[in-house]
């Protein structure tokens, strides 16, 4: 107990000394630190904050120290999170490396791979993207066609990925490739890592409904991928892919991003006004928001319990689908409420001086929540089979 109190005091002191003031304000989407070779820091403070946290291993507090992590146990991780929250410290680094590839490497990577790739993720040096979906392989992901032909020392990879988020900004890709054309559907896939600057890789951004362009079409034309860049064995890609997807779903469903931001009630009070009892003037909206907040409260408790469960070293496995489904459905409701509160004004896309308006963009962006990382329908099917053990 004493150790823990000591740790708490030390963390609190260190954060106070080291977290720049400008990194203690709510973080708009365009100020997220993604890291990577090409990353343009929005400020010196942002860079400083990343470097200081990375030096302590606190960009990935749970990872072992030798891989660039903080080596913290569950109780310590919780304290760090609490102390960061106490001063509103921004997350120093967010990335697919941290949330997706890292856990998969920790589980399936060779020691050499872990020592090479994990520290680069922890420090924010290398930014990763996810090459899973293809034009004909979405929900039916195992039907991917991108081919890796065995050329002795390397695989020659040819094919097309789609919806690859930030492919144009990423340094490396983790990619599902069919290397065993004669094996059965799920057994023919390998999990390959390669540099996006390799010869034969090209990307073409796709514009999103929200006007942003976060994802790309990604093309591979005889890209040489050294054989040592395979994670796990040949044909084991599907197992790794699924394991990684569980972590992706945890990340999406449990994301602070989904639930940070504006307080819906405060927003509504300001926009719509309150009666003499302090209640919203619109009695129907009032009831709807109350129900929403009650659901959100329950989900927060669920999330807190889930985090404790995971900090104790447990894996959620297929139950990550539960978190993903609940979290994203709730976020979509939240965005719907924000639109309702905004009324007609919520539909304004940009102002006369070309300032973008976030409300309709975030609302539209949230529509992807029930698609990315596996659709809500697929989440329900996974839960039915893997958790409720219903027949398939």
């Amino acid at each position: 107990m004493q150790d823990i109190d000591h740790f708490r005091a030390e963390v609190s002191h260190w954060l106070n000394e080291n977290c720049p003031k400008t990194m203690r304000t709510p973080m708009p989407d365009d100020e997220i630190c993604w890291g990577g070779r090409e990353f343009a820091f929005v400020s010196d403070d942002q860079r400083l904050w990343l470097n200081r946290m990375a030096a302590r291993g606190w960009t990935v507090p749970a990872w072992p120290k030798k891989y660039g992590g903080g080596g913290l146990n569950g109780a310590q991780q919780k304290i760090l999170a609490e102390q960061m929250q106490a001063i509103n410290a921004r997350s120093p680094l967010q990335s697919f490396g941290i949330g997706m590839l890292g856990p998969a490497l920790l589980e399936f990577g060779s020691e050499a791979q872990k020592l090479h790739y994990l520290p680069q993720i922890a420090s924010g040096e290398i930014r990763w993207c996810q090459g899973y979906s293809e034009p004909d392989a979405g929900s039916d992901l195992a039907s991917i066609k991108t081919a890796g032909v065995d050329e002795g020392d390397y695989f020659s990879v040819t094919g097309q990925k789609i919806w690859t988020s930030y492919a144009d900004k990423a340094d490396w890709i983790f990619c599902l490739v069919r290397t065993e054309p004669d094996a059965k559907k799920h057994k023919g896939i390998s999990f390959l890592l390669f540099d996006m600057t390799s010869q034969g890789v090209s990307t073409k951004p796709i514009e999103l409904i929200s006007g942003e362009s976060v994802f790309c079409e990604t093309f591979f034309d005889a890209v040489k991928v050294p054989k040592q860049n395979i994670v796990g064995g040949r044909g084991q890609g599907w197992t790794i892919a699924k394991y990684l997807l569980n972590h992706e779903r945890e990340m999406i469903g449990g994301s602070d991003l989904l639930f940070g931001g504006a307080d819906v009630c405060a927003l509504a009070s300001a926009q719509i006004g309150v009666d003499e009892n302090g209640r919203l003037n619109d009695s129907i909206l009032r009831a709807e928001l109350a129900k929403f907040i009650i659901d959100e409260m329950a989900f927060d408790a669920h999330l807190a319990m889930t985090k404790n469960y995971m900090r104790a070293g447990n894996q959620l496995g297929a139950r990550s689908a539960e978190l993903k489904y609940l979290g994203t459905e709730l976020n979509q409701q939240r965005q719907n409420h924000i639109m309702a509160i905004g009324g007609l004004g919520a539909l304004i896309w940009s102002s006369h001086n070309n300032q973008t308006h976030q409300t309709p963009r975030q609302w539209l962006r949230s529509k992807a929540n029930s698609i990315e990382g596996g659709t809500s329908e697929i989440m329900l099917s996974i839960l039915a089979k893997a958790v409720l053990k219903m027949p398939s």
Binding site: A287, A290, I294, L383, P391
Partner: protein, 374 residues
């Protein structure tokens, strides 16, 4: 994800579950619940003997644990067995007597030991869940109080030895002030009970009080403290009923999944159909949300507003989800779900009953809005 189970709690849960599994098959349960008394004096005594009533109370109150989590745990286990024994009455009566101070220690002890059965009578014909709506009058006399009026749908009132009632000392029917809370012996002169059966088994009754003469010490609380006590007691009811509903929903969940996996149509188990799989999973996720809401409420924070908000949130969520679980469980069972034979129907009925006890979904939504100033 589960309540944080300490070793003691695990043992308590074990004790209840094992006892009920032993003594309480569904057919036995139905025999008891739909009987003239609506519960079994013998089983009640055995459960009290095991300390299950005492588990609802703190050491100061004469029990041995009595935290919010313990209360939730007991009622969830009772829900799983659809147990109609008068635990809710014991909890609420005991908490009311405990608030009344040392003078009520004897009655409190008899409740905690299970020797006496308690009931609370707050609702009236017109009150519609509003605790402050009290037309029953309490007139101060030289020797105490004279009570006149009616109380509606009092659970297990016929079996009760001690009844806690709200009555009005002054003011208008809907005033929060001017109330008194009284502890009344059920065999007192002028107290009449019209007992009836509930939809899901168990009994309730209408209480008529005609010039019931109470001694001064029958008063547990008056003035602002009286309304506060009403809210506190109702809060315990919200927690207990929400947890009970959770136990019931768990049973309906498992039996419905089991049924979907067994029942064959079109040459396959119907659980193979995606439409049913998705409905089932959505139901399960709703139950998870309800569980989180109940856990949130089980912490029973000291801050009154925070506590009331969590309790209303839990009761609301459980009511909405419970109704849905009841309907979906029956629907997915098809014709057999409509039969008296199948446990499903009895569990479903109890969920509907719970929705209506101590405030339904609409009531708690309005209350939550009041409390949180949405």
């Amino acid at each position: 994800m589960d309540f944080k189970l300490t070793e003691d709690r695990r043992m308590l849960e074990d004790t209840i579950s094992r006892f009920l599994a032993d003594k309480y098959s569904i057919s036995k349960r139905n025999d008891i619940a739909y009987s003239e008394t609506g519960h079994s004096a013998q089983i009640w005594a055995e459960m009290a003997e095991l300390g299950i009533v005492a588990a609802l109370f703190t050491e100061i109150e004469g029990g041995f644990v009595g935290q919010g989590f313990d209360i939730a745990l007991v009622f969830e286990a009772l829900g799983r067995a659809l147990c109609p024994e008068p635990f809710l009455g014991a909890l609420l009566t005991g908490k009311a007597l405990a608030a009344g101070g040392a003078e009520h220690a004897d009655w409190l002890n008899s409740i905690v030991s299970g020797e006496k059965i308690g009931a609370v009578a707050f609702e009236e014909d017109q009150s519609h869940y509003q605790l402050q709506h009290v037309a029953t009058s309490a007139t101060k006399t030289a020797s105490g109080y004279l009570i006149n009026g009616n109380k509606a749908v009092v659970t297990h009132v016929e079996a009760a030895d001690i009844i806690i009632i709200s009555a009005r000392l002054s003011g208008n029917v809907d005033d929060q002030s001017g109330l008194g809370i009284f502890a009344v012996a059920a065999d007192i002169a002028g107290l009449e009970i019209q007992d009836y059966a509930n939809v899901e088994g168990g009994r309730s009754g209408q209480l008529t009080l005609t010039n019931v003469a109470l001694p001064p010490e029958a008063l547990l609380a008056e003035g602002d403290a009286a309304f506060e006590l009403l809210e506190t007691i109702a809060g315990y009811a919200h927690l207990a009923l929400s947890a009970e509903a959770l136990g019931i929903m768990e049973v309906l969940k498992f039996s419905t999944i089991e049924f979907l996996n067994l029942r064959q149509q079109f040459g396959v188990p119907i659980g193979k159909f995606q439409a049913l799989q998705h409905r089932m999973v959505e139901l399960v996720l709703d139950i998870e949300q309800a569980r989180s809401a109940v856990i949130n409420a089980s912490t029973l924070p000291c801050d009154k507003i925070d506590r009331a908000k969590r309790l209303s949130a839990a009761k609301l969520t459980v009511s909405a989800t419970g109704t849905k679980v009841a309907e979906e469980a029956i629907q997915m069972h098809g014709g057999i779900g409509m039969t008296w034979e199948m446990p499903v129907s009895h569990f479903a009925k109890r969920l509907v009953m719970i929705e209506h006890l101590f405030g339904d979904e609409d009531y708690h939504l309005a209350r939550y809005i009041e409390l949180s100033k949405v």
